[in-house]
Symmetry: D2
Subunit: 336 residues, 4 copies
C-alpha cells in the first residue's frame, strides 16, 4: 500500500508517496480502503510544523471517505463493502465532551488518513448518506460536523433567528446550507462579490462584502433591526472577533472555531459581558452528532460543496490552494 | 358597541349580539377595535357550559386581531393604528410558566373577545406580521402559539428528526407549516384523503389515513426506520394517545394539547417508561414566545390557513362547523 | 461455580443454587466474582413470570457489586482486583437514550447477576466509591441511578425548590439523600411514622403520613406556599398518580418510575395540561450518569441505606420481604 | 430628603449629601425609604468617571434595601411596610436577556440609589428574606444574583462537580456560600491565608494561596484528578483569565463577570477551543432569578457576609476600602 508522508514538518512540497506494509484488522477493528480525503487548515498547520508533538515521519489528514475492505472478529457496526467516513475524534462517541474523549483525534492520538489502507476500531467510523459522492462524503467529519454542532447541538430555533457565516470556507458553507435548510435567516460575509453570489445560490439571505464594509457588525444590526445575530460561526480569527462580538445578539452565541482557520488570540470581555453572550469553544463533535447530521443530510438531500479535486500525489498543490484562500467550500484529494 | 353574549351556557345558538357601553382605557391600558376572532374548541366547551366557574352572562372567545383605537396614560408598547393580536395568557409575558402567569387567560380571568371594543393592558397585546390579513392574524394566539411552543420552545433540531401531526385542525396545520419551514420530516394523519392532499400541498412528507391504518404507530416506525417520531403533537385525546405512545422515539416528546380538541384521560405509563419519553402538558405559551413566532412567520412568509370566515352574527353556525370537525385549519368570525 | 436459578417462572421459592461451568473472558471482556446483589421489584416480577419473553431456566437479578477476577485481551477500563458495579443497561454508555442503547438490560438482553462468576464486556462495569461496603455498592445500578437521573440529569437547582419522595423504598431513599445533599427542600410520604422518622434522620424537611393525610397534594401545596413541588419521584403507581399531578408545580416534572415499584396505569391529562408539567419516563440511566453519581457519592460520603442482608441461598425470603413492603431502603443478598 | 451626589465624576471624596425635593409615586409606582446600600466596583468606576455617558450631577449606587413608604394607584406587588431590594435591571423581569431588558440598569437608565427617598416602578423591587438584616439584604441585587446566575441559571449539578471562586470579594463569597449549600466541591483562591481561613469557615473544600501558587490551575487539576473545574466564576480579570482557561474542565463554563471587579481584556481562544468550554458573559440577572435566589436563601438560612458598615456620609472612605481590596464579602452604607 502507499501512504502520503512527510519526513519532517516543513513545506508541503515535502509530502511524498511511500510504500508501507498492508495492515490487518484485529478483533473489533476494520480494514478501510481510502477513497478520498478532504483538507482542513489543521492539516496544513500540522504539515508545516505548528503542532509540536507531531510524530515523525508524519502521515497527515483526518477526513476521509473509505470503503470497508475487511472486518476483524466481533465487528457488528459495519460490514465489507460499506462506505464510511472516518470520525475525527476516535474516542468521542456520545454525550458531552471530556478530556478522555478528546484524547485521540486522527493524525495525533490516532493515525492520519493519508493512506491507501488503514485499520481503525469499528467504533471510529460511520456510514455516510448514499446520495453523496466519495469526494463529498470525505468533507463531513470536521467541517460539516463543526458547523452542525454550533448550530444545533445546544438548542436551535426556527426562522426569525439569524446566523452569521464568516467567509466561504468549508465550515461556513456547511453552516450556510444547514442553517438555510432549518429555515434560519443567514448572513454571509466575504471579500469577493463572486463568492457572495455563490452563497446566494445556496440560500444566503443577506450578503456583506467586508472589503467594502469592514465594520460589518453595523450591517448585521441593521438587518436584524438592532437585535444582532443569535448565532455566529467565528472562523476568521483575530481580524473578525471584535466585529463578531459587536454583531452577536444579547444572550446569543459565538461558536469559536479555530482549528480549521487559524487562531484568534484576543477577546474583548467588556463586549461579552454587555451582551450576556456566550463564546463556545468548538473542537469538532461526537459520533452521535455525526449520525444525527447524516440523517439530516440524507433527508434534505444536502450536497456538500467540493470546490476542486486533486490527485493525492498533488497534495502540496491542494494545500497551497487552501493556504491562499482562493476556494469556496472544500478541497479534496482523490486517493489511489 | 356590540358584544356577542350568551345569558347562560348552553346551545351555541343562544349567542346574541347585545349593546354594551363603550369602554375607555385607563393608565397603561389600550382600547382595541376587534376585527376578527378565531375559534378554538375551548370556546365551544365554554359556551356549552363545560367550564364550571364561567361568569354569566358570558362573552366568550380568546383569539382576536384588533386595531389600537386609543391608548391610556403611559402606554409605550403600541400606538393608535397598530394592528395587534390579543394574548391568551394576559399574565404570562416571559420565562417559564408559573401559577400566577397562568391565572388570567382571556374569557376567564380576563375578558372574552366577543366585543367590538375592548380594553386590555398594553402588556396583553402584541403586534402582528404585516403580510397577514386580519383573519389570519386572529388565528395566532392559541393554535399557532401552541404548535410553536411544542416544536421549538424546549429545543428543536434539523431535518432527519420527525414530527407527527394528528389530524388537520388548527394546531396540527400550524405544526405542519412550522415543522416544514424548519426542515423537519413531517407525518400527518387524517381520516380524509382530501385533507391529506391539502396537507401534502403544505409540505407534509408522509400521509397516513388512520381510517385505513388505525394502528398508525406501526407506519410511523416504518417511515423512521424503527426510531419513531422525536416529537408528536397530541391533540386527538383518548383515541390517539396509545398510538402516540407507541410512535414516539426513545427519549422523544409528546406535547399534550387538550384545550383545543377534547380531553384524553388515560396514559399507559408502561409505554412511557419503556420509551424514556416525555409527556409535556402544553397550555398555550408566553408573550415572548409569541413574538419569536411572529418574527419567524414574517421572515418565512408563512400564511395561516383560514378554512372559512363567518360574520360574527353567525357565530353559532361557525361553532357547529368546528364541532362537526369538517374544517381544515382555522375558522374565523369577522367582527362588525 | 454456583448460580441462583429458577426452572420456570413462579413462586420465588423455586429459586435454587445450581452448578454451572466457570466462564472465561474473551477479548474486551472481564471475569467478575460477584460479592453482593441488591433486589429490585423488577427481579420479583421477572421471577413470578410477569415478563413474557424471559428465557428459561432464568437466572434473575441485575444489580451487583463484584471484583474483577481476570481480564481478556485489550481490556483497559479495569484491572484484576478492581471492585465494580454491574451496569443495568449494558449498551447505554453515554448521551441520551435510544432504542439500541436500551436493548441489553441485565437479566434480559444480557445475563442475570445471580452467579458467583460472570463475564461482561469491560464497557458494562464501573468502579465504585471506596468508602462503600460491597452490600452498599450493589445498590447503586438501578435504584440510586434512577433517583439521580430524575433529580439532576436534565437540570437541577438550589434550595427553595422542592422534591417529593413517595414512600421509603430504594429509589425514594436515594432521592432523599441526593436531594438533601444538593440543598433541595424534601418532602417524604409514608404510611408509617417510624419510617418517616428514619427519613427525618436522613435529612427530610417535611413528613406526610399518607394514611392520615390521603390527599397529600394539599399538604405539599401548603408547604410550598401554593407553588407545588418542582420535582416528584413517582414510584407509587396508580394510587399516587392523581395526587402527584395535583402536587407538581406549574412547569414542574414528575419522574415516572415504574419498573421498580409496580405500574401506574392512568394519567389525568387535564391536570397535566393545566400544570404545564412534564411526565418523564425514566428507565434507569447511562454509564456516564452512573460515573457522575459515583463522584458525587464519593465526595459527599453518602452511605446507601441497606435495610437487611440475606445469604443468597435465602433469596426467596428476601424477595418476600420486598413484596410485603416492610423495608426501608434496600434489601441485599450476600453471594458465596 | 437627602441624596449622596457628586457634581462631576472624580475622586470619591467629592460625594456630598445634598437636599432634594421629596418624590411622589405615580400610577404603578412605589415610594421607597432607603435603609442600606451595598457597594460594587461599578459604583467606584462610575464615581471616578469610567462611564462616559453618566449624567451629572451623579447620584451613584444600585444595590439597596428599602422599605415601601407609599404606593401609587394600581400597585399590587407590594404594600407599605414591605421591605424590598432594588433590582439592578429595572427592565429585566423574566426570561432570557434582550437588549431592551438590559437598557435600564440602576444609576444609568434608571435612578441611582444614593437617596433617602426614591420612586421606582412596582415591577422594579422584590421582597427580601425575613431573616436578613437591612445591611445583608442590600447586598443581594448585584453580587449575590451574579453568583447565583452563573451557578444555577443554565443548569447545575450535585457534588463531584467543582466550582472555583477567585478571591473573596462579594460575588466570590456568595458563590462559595451558594455552591456549598448545593453540595458542590468548592475551591477558593486568595493572596491572604487569613481570608482563606474565613472561606474555609464558610464551607470551602480546598484553599489556594495564589501568591505562593501563582499557577493555580495546576492545583485545580490536581484536586479534580485531571478533570478541571466544571464552573469558574471569573472575576479577577486580565491576571486570572489564562489560569481560568487552563483550570476549566472540558465542556465546562467560565462565567465572565467584569462589572464588579475590573475588566479582563484578552482571552486565549486556543485554550477555549481545546477545552470545548464556554465563556459566558454575565451582567447580573433577572427578577425571576432574584426571586428564585431569595427562596433558596430563605430556605437554607444563608447569611450574606457584610465585612464593614459605614454611615453613608462616609461613602468615600467605604469606596476607598473597596478600592484597596482589603475586604472580605461586602461593604455597606447605612442610610439616614
Amino acid at each position: 500500500m502507499k501512504a502520503l508522508q512527510i519526513a519532517e514538518p516543513g513545506a508541503p512540497e515535502g509530502l511524498a508517496l511511500v510504500e508501507l506494509r498492508d495492515p490487518a484488522p484485529g478483533p473489533g477493528e476494520v480494514l478501510l480502503r481510502v477513497r478520498a480525503i478532504a483538507l482542513n487548515y489543521r492539516d496544513l498547520a500540522m504539515v508545516k510544523g505548528a503542532y509540536p508533538n507531531t510524530p515523525t515521519p508524519l502521515i497527515p489528514f483526518s477526513d476521509a471517505c473509505a470503503v470497508v475492505e475487511a472486518v476483524g472478529e466481533g465487528v457488528t457496526r459495519v460490514e465489507p463493502g460499506d462506505r464510511v467516513a472516518t470520525l475525527f475524534h476516535q474516542a468521542w462517541l456520545d454525550g458531552p465532551p471530556t478530556a478522555e474523549k478528546l484524547s485521540r483525534p486522527l493524525a495525533q492520538g490516532a493515525p492520519g488518513m493519508g493512506r491507501e489502507l488503514l485499520v481503525l476500531s469499528e467504533e471510529g467510523v460511520s456510514k455516510v448518506p448514499e446520495h453523496l459522492t466519495d469526494e463529498q462524503a470525505a468533507t463531513l467529519p470536521c467541517a460539516a460536523l463543526t458547523a452542525w454542532r454550533v448550530l444545533f447541538e445546544d438548542g436551535g430555533r426556527l426562522a426569525g433567528e439569524t446566523v452569521v457565516l464568516e467567509g466561504t470556507g468549508g465550515v461556513s458553507v456547511f453552516g450556510l446550507q444547514f442553517a438555510h435548510a432549518a429555515g434560519l435567516r443567514t448572513i454571509v460575509t466575504s471579500s469577493s462579490d463572486a463568492k457572495l453570489e455563490r452563497a446566494r445560490a445556496l440560500g444566503a439571505d443577506y450578503l456583506i462584502n467586508y472589503r467594502r464594509t469592514p465594520e460589518w457588525s453595523a450591517e448585521v444590526l441593521r438587518i436584524t433591526e438592532g437585535r444582532g445575530a443569535e448565532t455566529i460561526l467565528e472562523v476568521g480569527g483575530a481580524g473578525t472577533f471584535p466585529e463578531a462580538l459587536k454583531a452577536v445578539a444579547v444572550g446569543g452565541k459565538v461558536g469559536v472555531i479555530g482549528m480549521v482557520s487559524g487562531m484568534p488570540n484576543a477577546v474583548d470581555a467588556r463586549s461579552l459581558i454587555r451582551s450576556n453572550a456566550r463564546l463556545a469553544g468548538v473542537f469538532v463533535g461526537s459520533r452521535a452528532m455525526f449520525e444525527a447530521m447524516g440523517r439530516a443530510i440524507a433527508f434534505r438531500g444536502i450536497e456538500p460543496v467540493v470546490d476542486e479535486v486533486f490527485p493525492w500525489a498533488d497534495a502540496a498543490a491542494a494545500l497551497r490552494l487552501m493556504e491562499r484562500g482562493g476556494h469556496f467550500g472544500k478541497i479534496v484529494l482523490k486517493v489511489g
